[in-house]
């Protein structure tokens, strides 16, 4: 089955300042986004897909090269978006957006700071999930969308889908929160901080102003990604995929790549460090750490979620230990406590936290079945 075909990003420019939760103000900003399918006349069929830590606006289809031919650059959630797929573009208008602080065209640390003309670098504010949702609401205004039929996301994207129901209860009818958590655990924050320390202590980081020095903290970013990748996979899956296999024959009793898992992680680290911005990575992990909608309610998640008007689909994966099913059930039980509408599916999968990106038939059937009931 073919997907949405060739796609191109668009850019929306916003001139009204955005006050941030952390105290700063962005005087103006750009959001880069893609859309698939057509917005109906009632503007009631729009779904916003929020991205996770390393994601962006290019969710589905392929970008084109200078001759208009499709490139190998397939969207990161292409398997779920397209005609006849769960996010059915024959029925829905799908929007993907690169979040503030990102490094794929949206205003972020590598963008010029209007005050200095130089890249923001370390001076770019720390943005939160609430700030992203506020900026996404500006994009909804720009597109003429009063209320999303659904907002959806996995991991950090799921947190945005949850925050939407709290920041704008009247502007979201369904919230699909996948492989997420209502807040990070101490262990989650610990992993994030090790990743940040890898970047912050890289001599090429230059306090976040590395752009001016013509270098990038590749070593730190690479380590951060390698660490992250370990938490995205499951132990079983690593054992099955790599085991203790050696890359070439017997061990050399040295420190070069020997085991397949080392080769895999180093490859992932190198690939990521080559394209991602270290300042963005720092901010994405901070947004994760700060997310805690129950914080203003003495930690009572049910009270925090009481103002939501949306219906919820919560999905977790059996081997996800980064945000285990128990974390999703915290959200589910808070909603049940409040008498709010919720369906919860716990999917058997070997792929750990990354399962939400995989084409698991039962998982996709759950999303498909749920979205088929969404009225337009």
């Amino acid at each position: 089955m073919s997907g949405v075909g060739i796609v191109a990003a668009q850019c929306a420019h916003f001139t009204r300042p955005l006050a941030l939760k952390g105290g700063g103000v962005l005087p103006a900003f750009d959001l880069v986004y893609e859309t698939y399918g057509a917005l109906n006349a009632a503007k009631s069929n729009a779904i916003l897909v929020c991205h996770a830590l390393s994601g962006h606006h290019h969710i589905a289809g392929r970008t084109a090269d200078e001759f208009g031919k499709p490139t190998a650059n397939v969207g990161w959630w292409d398997n779920i978006v397209g005609p006849g797929r769960p996010l059915d573009t024959d029925r829905f208008f799908i929007v993907g957006v690169n979040n503030l602080g990102g490094c794929h065209g949206t205003t972020g640390p590598a963008s010029p700071n209007p005050a200095t003309g130089k890249p923001w670098g370390a001076d770019f504010p720390v943005v939160t999930v609430e700030d992203w949702v506020a900026s996404q609401a500006r994009l909804a205004d720009h597109l003429g969308i009063d209320a999303w039929a659904a907002v959806m996301g996995g991991s950090l994207g799921g947190m945005q889908a949850l925050q939407w129901t709290l920041s704008f209860p009247e502007r979201i009818r369904h919230s699909l929160v996948i492989a997420a958590a209502p807040k990070l655990s101490a262990e989650n924050i610990a992993f994030n901080d090790v990743a940040r320390q890898a970047i912050l202590t890289d001599p090429d980081f230059h306090g976040g102003h590395f752009y001016e020095h013509g270098v990038r903290p590749l070593r730190g970013l690479r380590l951060a990604r390698m660490l992250g990748h370990i938490t995205y996979l499951s132990d079983d899956q690593m054992a099955e995929k790599f085991g203790r296999r050696l890359r070439s024959g017997a061990g050399s009793y040295g420190f070069d790549v020997e085991f397949e898992i080392e080769s895999y992680l180093r490859h992932q680290g190198d690939k990521f460090a080559g394209v991602f911005d270290a300042n963005t990575y720092l901010r994405m992990t901070k947004a994760l750490d700060y997310f805690d909608p129950a914080q203003d309610f003495d930690g009572d998640l049910a009270r925090a979620l009481a103002r939501a008007r949306a219906k919820f689909l919560i999905i977790a994966f059996s081997t996800d230990w980064r945000f285990s099913p128990g974390r999703s059930r915290e959200i589910v039980h808070a909603l049940v406590h409040n008498g709010q509408a919720v369906a919860y599916a716990e999917i058997d999968s070997v792929h750990g936290h990354d399962s939400f990106l995989m084409n698991e038939p039962h998982y996709h059937a759950v999303v498909d079945t749920y979205l088929k009931r969404v009225t337009l």
Binding site: E330, V342, A343, Y344, E346, I347, T369, R373
Partner: protein
């Protein structure tokens, strides 16, 4: 999921639910009972279902369904959240019998339990004839049954006494779904109880 299409106990359960009441259906399957309670009785319904196929079917009906395993109790559900907690034709498949009954009355004010009566006369006849019973309410062969516990009305009521559960109401049905009054432990194929603390 392999439940008889005709669910005579559903009529009774529906008659006990008042509009606006919160109902938790344990082992809700495709959500048929909840759908009925929502549409006919105006209940606020939630279901717990273990099997992915049941969860999917319930989602297709727009039912609030939570995937989970009853054997692990109802941890996460808050105390006294529901007016009724229903366990329809499922108690005989649960290993931790006492725990699930306690949990039902922790999260709900009333437990509604239905189960096949092993002492139904046809079942007794089958055993007398040397074979395990297969009937409308015990539709499985011994080698493929999900049932772990085989018990009678008298057995169940003695457990209720042991657990200090109050039987608020008992209705007993035959295989055709008719109400049985006389000799229920002999003439009844399916029992439906309302329990409290």
């Amino acid at each position: 999921m392999n439940q008889p299409a005709e669910r005579a106990d559903f009529d009774l359960i529906a008659s006990w639910v008042q509009p606006g009441e919160r109902v938790l259906d344990l082992g809700c399957g495709d959500g048929s009972l909840l759908q009925r309670l929502i549409e006919e009785r105006g209940a606020l319904g939630y279901g717990v279902e273990l099997e992915g196929a049941g969860v999917l079917a319930a989602i297709a009906k727009g039912i609030n369904v939570v995937q989970g395993n009853l054997e692990q109790g109802l941890s996460g559900f808050d105390d006294q959240t529901f007016n009724h907690v229903v366990l329809s034709r499922t108690l005989q498949t649960v290993r931790h019998t006492e725990r699930i009954l306690s949990e039902m009355l922790r999260v709900g004010r009333e437990a509604v339990v239905s189960f096949p009566n092993f002492a139904y006369w046809k079942n007794r006849m089958a055993v007398m004839g040397g074979r395990m019973p297969v009937s409308e309410d015990l539709p499985y062969e011994w080698f493929d049954t999900p049932n772990l516990r085989f018990f009678t009305l008298l057995d169940f009521e003695s457990l209720c006494t042991k657990m200090s559960l109050i039987i608020r109401e008992r209705q007993v049905l035959d295989e055709a779904g008719r109400l049985i009054v006389e000799e229920p432990n002999f003439l009844g194929s399916l029992a439906v109880y309302r329990l409290g603390r």
